[in-house]
């Protein structure tokens, strides 16, 4: 009787183990690539206060302009390293209807503000970026950010044209410039 019971239970466990092992690659893939932003989708709107002044700004307010949305934090070393390059990009294209929106996601804005002061004294001018502050990290969630920093090129119609996960290198900066040129046409 006991022997029969054991035999009747036998196929259940291999089946369960095989099912779970079979599902593992799928689960891992779904974790790694879950919700990566898709180029060509409408960029989610946001309304955020400024980092320096509390004035609210939404993505809708920037409709008709090419936007580079950069999500950064003061605890992220590579975010800070690329900031000078981003200032240069803003200065290059600012007069042609381009806005670089840098959304800070620090838990407290004080260290971000201290970094901006250091940046200002280093480059000897005010960085002409639009700095916003997102304490709740809703923009990161809605844009399904998968690395720090991440930048999104959004065209005049509010559609995501290019996503740059990670900080900019020389080659990706060139790619960014051509993406901006393309969007500005």
């Amino acid at each position: 009787m006991a022997k029969r019971k054991i035999i009747s239970q036998l196929p259940v466990f291999p089946f369960l183990i095989i099912t779970m092992l079979g599902a593992l690659p799928w689960a891992a893939k779904s974790i790694a690539f879950a919700g990566m932003p898709v180029v060509g989708e409408q960029a989610p709107d946001f309304v955020l206060p400024g980092l320096i002044d509390p004035q609210m700004l939404s993505l809708k307010d920037l409709k008709g302009k090419v936007v580079l949305l950069n999500i950064w934090a003061s605890w992220c070393t590579s975010c800070k390293e690329e900031m000078e390059d981003l200032v240069a990009v803003q200065e290059q294209y600012g007069s042609r209807g381009f806005v670089l929106v840098a959304v800070n996601i620090d838990n407290a804005p004080s260290s971000a503000l201290a970094f901006l002061q250091r940046l200002e004294s280093k480059i000897k001018r005010k960085p002409a970026l639009t700095f916003l502050y997102d304490k709740d990290k809703t923009v990161s969630q809605e844009y399904r950010q998968r690395s720090m920093p991440t930048s999104y090129v959004i065209d005049r119609l509010g559609i995501v044209r290019k996503v740059y996960p990670g900080s900019f290198s020389k080659s990706t900066l060139e790619s960014l410039r051509s993406a901006i040129e393309e969007a500005l046409k």
Binding site: Q9, T19, A23, I31, I105, N107, S140, S147
Partner: protein, 75 residues
């Protein structure tokens, strides 16, 4: 018996899958605390030279990192 075990296992599996995205994976934008110096494997890296100096003074006479001078603390 088999059915209840199977049902329990499947429900647990589905329940755990629900945790994968939100709970298990720390998103890159949630890593502020992980980025702090004290979370490094060598949290005293910035103080390494100072630590080395103290170590040399205290251990030199016993053949520590430094092969010269005594433990007088007068380096």
């Amino acid at each position: 018996m088999n059915r209840s075990v199977l049902a329990f296992a499947l429900l647990s599996f589905i329940g755990l899958l629900g945790c994968t995205e939100k709970l298990v994976r720390v998103q890159p934008y949630e890593m502020e605390h992980f980025a702090q110096d004290k979370m490094l494997f060598t949290p005293l890296d910035s103080r390494a030279a100072f630590e080395e100096h103290i170590f040399s003074i205290r251990e030199a006479s016993a053949g520590g990192s430094s092969g010269f001078q005594g433990g007088c603390g007068c380096r």
